[in-house]
Amino acid sequence: MTTLGKMAKYAFIGKITLRNQLAYIIDFLIRSLFLLLILYIFLQLWQATFHGEGDASLIAGYSFNQIMWYLVITEAITLACPSLCTRIEEEVKNGDVGYRLVRPIHFVVFHYVEYMSEAAVRFGVNAVLGGTLGLLIIGPPELSAGFLWLPLAAAFGLTVNFMLNMTLALCAFWVEETRGIEFVYNKFLFTIGGMLMPLELFPDALQAVGRWLPLQAVLYIPAKTAVAFDASRLAGMLAVQVLWIAVIGLAVAWIYRRGVKKLNVNGG
């Protein structure tokens, strides 16, 4: 099959996933109300924090407006990510993985296309909801070219997150239960990954650690690119994301090759 034919195959998988997600958009909209709740709480928290700092205009280089829009973006991306570990764990447990592996579709690429299509719809809904709340309560963000780069940085961030989750999810080929590991991974993403606050607010030592980890590429870089755009640092930040995609991608390929030989399919 030609490369073009292969790409068309995966494009169709993406299209079907998008249509599936759009069919339940109202249901997803209702479930996304949690995003509004958490943004409301953070709004109160950071209002109190800025007030406590003597109504400071900047904290660690961020204005109140920038911090709030930073949180809108990190929360919108976080809540857009489907649970890959749950999906693959179920496939391994009920034997569906057997059917998946014999199809003329690469297991990892199939999940990537499905994951990204689903995340795109969810991110769109979250961005609309969070953006509306932001415009009504926080006020418009300080517009910069960063918002034009956000879709690309978010797509790279979601790809890094997919790769990291895939390394954990593939452990299901050995141990079946992986949701616990995913749970802990998500919590690291929330803290040292910069979901709850920008890395600049961390102590210096932790900031240094954070900058060597791939977690910053998932949420911190897309949100920072949008709200505190610095044209001179853009290429460097995108390069960090691409580098991590390549490095973790290689790790995924290696784990997959070993795992698929080890896998015992139950039933089906």
Partner: protein, 284 residues
């Protein structure tokens, strides 16, 4: 016996020894036996049990790290210090842990009603609501309870009075969690399957209880104390543990009692409307 007959005889199942000597003791023995069997079931897969409970502890510890980082940068948050937020997490996680460990079905009642699984409980000679509540134990929630005790051991006041106050705070939090959950899940008797809505409402309560009350202003504070009773849990570290604020403590106890009464009443009112789907189920 029809559902209505059964519900009409709810008074028969009230916790009183009038005309039934030894009934309270038998019920306590039933509750203790249920908890013992639930724990034995959880311990059957010991490694899984330890991993699940351990993961929940790690989950909570990450939030503690977040607040540690926050207070490392900002020392005080509208009068709240790191110690208060640690105790807030101890009380909230502990209260939730007690609910999910000992009354694990509280958050599943809507699903049980909608899928017709109440039949199993109606057919047995035990108080229906109590029986439903204690029939499940969440293994991960044991991690929440252990986390609460650990945080208390590190940050709490370990004097006799301090231990008593912490025990009372956890009990108030647990009662509010249990009966708020019962109330929102009982909507399923009238509206159909409201599992998603019940989970959303309960998550809203749980989320609000893990942030200091002092960050909320005007309408936010009103919602916290008048609509979602989260304020009666999240203010406990200040109004009970730091220093006893009598009006607040009386209010928290009154709200807890009100939730117990409303939850129980609503459940048995709803039970009159319950219709079996004739689904064959077994207790697991």
């Amino acid at each position: 016996m029809s559902t209505e007959d059964r519900t009409n005889s709810a008074s028969y199942y009230s916790i009183t020894e009038h005309d039934q000597p030894g009934k309270l003791r038998r019920q306590l023995s039933f509750v203790l036996r249920s908890w013992t069997l639930n724990l034995a079931g959880a311990m059957e897969f010991r490694l899984s049990f330890l991993l699940t409970a351990g993961m929940m502890m790690i989950n909570n510890i990450v939030w503690i790290v977040f607040w540690g980082l926050y207070f490392n940068r900002f020392q005080v948050l509208n009068g709240w210090e790191l110690h208060d937020v640690m105790m807030l997490w101890a009380v909230s996680a502990g209260g939730f842990g007690l609910m999910a460990t000992f009354f694990g079905n509280a958050s599943r009642i809507a699903n049980i009603i909608a899928t017709g699984q109440l039949d199993v409980y109606l057919a047995q000679p035990k108080p229906v609501l109590l029986h439903v509540l204690i029939s499940r134990m969440s293994v991960s929630a044991i991690g929440d309870v252990l986390f609460a005790l650990l945080v208390f051991a590190i940050f709490g006041d370990k004097s006799a009075a301090g231990i008593a106050k912490f025990g009372l705070a956890m009990a108030i939090a647990a009662v509010i969690f249990i009966f708020f959950s019962v109330i929102v899940n009982c909507l399923a008797f009238w509206v159909g399957n409201t599992e998603g809505l019940s989970i959303q409402l309960f998550n809203a309560l749980l989320t609000f209880t893990t942030y200091p009350t002092s960050i909320f202003k005007s309408w936010g504070k009103l919602v916290l104390f008048a609509v979602i009773p989260a304020g009666f849990i999240s203010y406990l570290p200040i109004g009970l543990l730091r220093e006893i604020n009598l009006p607040f403590l009386i209010g928290a106890l009154a709200v807890s009692a009100l939730f117990v009464a409303c939850g129980t009443l609503l459940f048995y009112r709803g039970l009159k409307r319950y219709t079996s789907g004739n689904m064959m189920t077994l207790r697991r």
